[in-house]
């Protein structure tokens, strides 16, 4: 066993090493989990005053856990890998603040969220909880209570949200792996703005038990990492049914790792046209074109009524989100982030027929989009219309119309999560001045297809997580 006091493996750059590399080194005894975790804690201390990605650092817990890994009590595919979670995941001993002021008055959680338990059972080490937009109603990474998260590639720019710290912590090299949530794009937007790989699995694939909800019929949890292999490693460790989440599907674990390197031969891949080109900034169009060329995806496909799907997702989100928070709006409206409060109050006032119409449309749209997957295995679309705006920027111009930034960053992610399709966000290289990602979208329960394509793009040198100059 390596000495816990020994510094990291001399030739291992733990600040940018992948989860896969760390776990292999820890398992082989070339480095201790303790040394890896100490390195992560030191980086958090050094860099997070600028990035503001962590809201809670769990140094004592992480050290104790790492010592257990080093003592051989836990062995697994993620041995010694430090990770952190958006602060809407229950973490034993912490109130689940969900980016809010109000929730931090809740009592300490009695248990960890099950995905934390599953990652730790595979040898990973939780080092903290991460900043997020209040109650996950956010695409920017701005938060009046905990301060804004800052993009590691340019601290004056947004990380994207609402899994803001989940993006900043991994892109900034603080940890190789984080967990976030995605209701309308909150994993894919930070992946795009921070230059990361992010997996939003099929709705119902990963348990959401013991996480603070936002929109029950749209909420997903998933990982962010700096490589496809790391996403797959974490995803395989987290799969499986959970009776505690009624939405979590009763499906066996379907490991993706064995198929990851199978390549893309035989896969039918098309590029989303129409809505997904309209409004895209040149950098988003370039990204799509480069990925399509690398995959020889010469076919364009129209996702029917995508604009209406986005509109319906918007309405359902506002209404369900407001229903969740109605009592808090009545009693504590002044304690919300104003940008969130005003949207939730408006959401509470949406007449029920509008919400029912959106749900009826949702069923129709799901049926129509699933027909596309009889003809193709995957669809490519931009993740965001642009690279990260400046923190505080209020508007941008999409398709010639000046629109508010906050609700419109997710125009390309919302029509996809609306019907629960699995998506991998893949970041482009070389990046424009700031990172940008595209979405690789697959049929329900075919995360393996999206991950295979992402891995092939990474191997071809078309996609990678760019390292910031920190």
């Amino acid at each position: 066993m390596p000495s816990p006091r020994r510094s990291s493996e001399p030739d291992m750059d733990t600040g940018w090493a992948s989860a896969t590399e760390i776990a292999a080194a820890v398992t082989a005894g070339r480095v201790s989990a303790t040394a890896v975790v100490e390195d992560a804690l030191a980086r958090i201390t050094a860099r997070d005053p600028v990035l503001n990605s962590f809201t809670d650092v769990l140094a004592e817990r992480a050290r104790a856990r790492a010592a257990e890994v080093d003592a051989g009590k836990t062995k697994g595919p993620l041995a010694g890998v430090p990770f952190a979670v958006k602060n809407l995941f229950d973490v034993k001993g912490l109130p689940t603040r969900a980016g809010s002021k109000i929730n931090r008055e809740l009592g300490a959680s009695a248990h960890d969220q099950p995905l934390i338990e599953r990652l730790e059972a595979a040898g990973a080490v939780l080092v903290g909880a991460l900043n997020m937009g209040e109650y996950a109603y956010d695409f920017t990474g701005e938060n009046v209570h905990d301060g804004n998260a800052h993009n590691p590639h340019d601290a004056t720019r947004m990380t994207g949200g609402s899994s803001s710290g989940s993006g900043g912590a991994v892109a900034g090299g603080l940890v190789p792996l984080s967990l976030g949530s995605d209701t309308n794009g909150s994993i894919r937007v930070p992946s795009s703005f921070c230059g990361l790989f992010g997996l939003k699995p099929t709705y119902g694939r990963l348990t959401r038990a013991r996480s603070f909800p936002f929109v029950a019929s749209l909420d997903h949890l998933g990982p962010l990492a700096r490589s496809t292999r790391d996403l797959a490693l974490a995803y395989d460790a987290m799969q499986g049914p959970d009776a505690e989440d009624p939405v979590c599907a009763d499906r066996p674990v379907e490991p993706v790792m064995p198929a990851l390197t199978r390549g893309v031969d035989g896969l039918r891949i098309a590029v989303a046209s129409g809505y997904f080109r309209k409004g895209a900034f040149p950098e988003a169009c370039v990204a799509i074109d480069r990925v399509a060329a690398a995959l020889r995806a010469n076919t364009e496909i129209e996702i029917p009524e995508a604009a209406r799907a986005r509109a319906a997702a918007y309405v359902i989100t506002a209404s369900e989100g407001a229903s969740l928070h109605l009592d808090r709006l009545r009693a504590r409206a002044g304690d919300f982030d104003p940008a969130v409060r005003d949207r939730l109050i408006a959401g509470a006032m949406i007449p029920a027929p509008m919400v029912t119409a959106a749900q009826k449309f949702r069923r129709w749209y799901r049926t129509e989009v699933l027909k596309l997957f009889e003809k193709v295995d995957a669809i490519l679309a931009p993740a965001t219309p642009c690279t990260a705006p400046a923190i505080g920027q209020q508007t941008f111009v999409l398709d010639g119309v000046e629109l508010p930034v906050r609700p419109n960053i997710g125009i390309y992610t919302q029509p996809i999560s609306f019907i629960g399709l699995p998506v991998v966000a893949v970041p482009m290289v070389p990046m424009p001045p700031m990172p940008i990602a595209i979405q690789v979208i697959a049929a329900p329960w075919r995360e393996d297809v999206a991950l295979r394509i992402a891995y092939a793009l990474e191997q071809a040198g078309v996609c990678a997580a760019p390292r910031p100059a920190l």
Binding site: A311, A318, D342, I345, I350, M354, T356, A357, F361
Partner: protein, 59 residues
């Protein structure tokens, strides 16, 4: 609806018991205006009366 939004917001706030401060109203109004426009776009899609809604969603 937009012409009547201010009155609607006042009435809805009272009915729902949400204390909307005067300085919050412009932003609430702007959000509600966008939401109603998007909801109208959804409503413009013709679907049969027996189209099944998806309140319990499955991927």
């Amino acid at each position: 609806m937009p012409d009547h939004l201010d009155a609607y917001i006042d009435a809805a706030a009272q009915a729902l018991g949400i204390p909307v401060q005067p300085e919050w109203k412009p932003a609430v109004r702007a959000n509600l205006d966008v939401t109603f426009r998007l909801a109208a776009a959804v409503g413009d899609k013709e679907l049969p009366d027996d189209a099944e809604p998806a309140p319990v969603f499955r991927a």
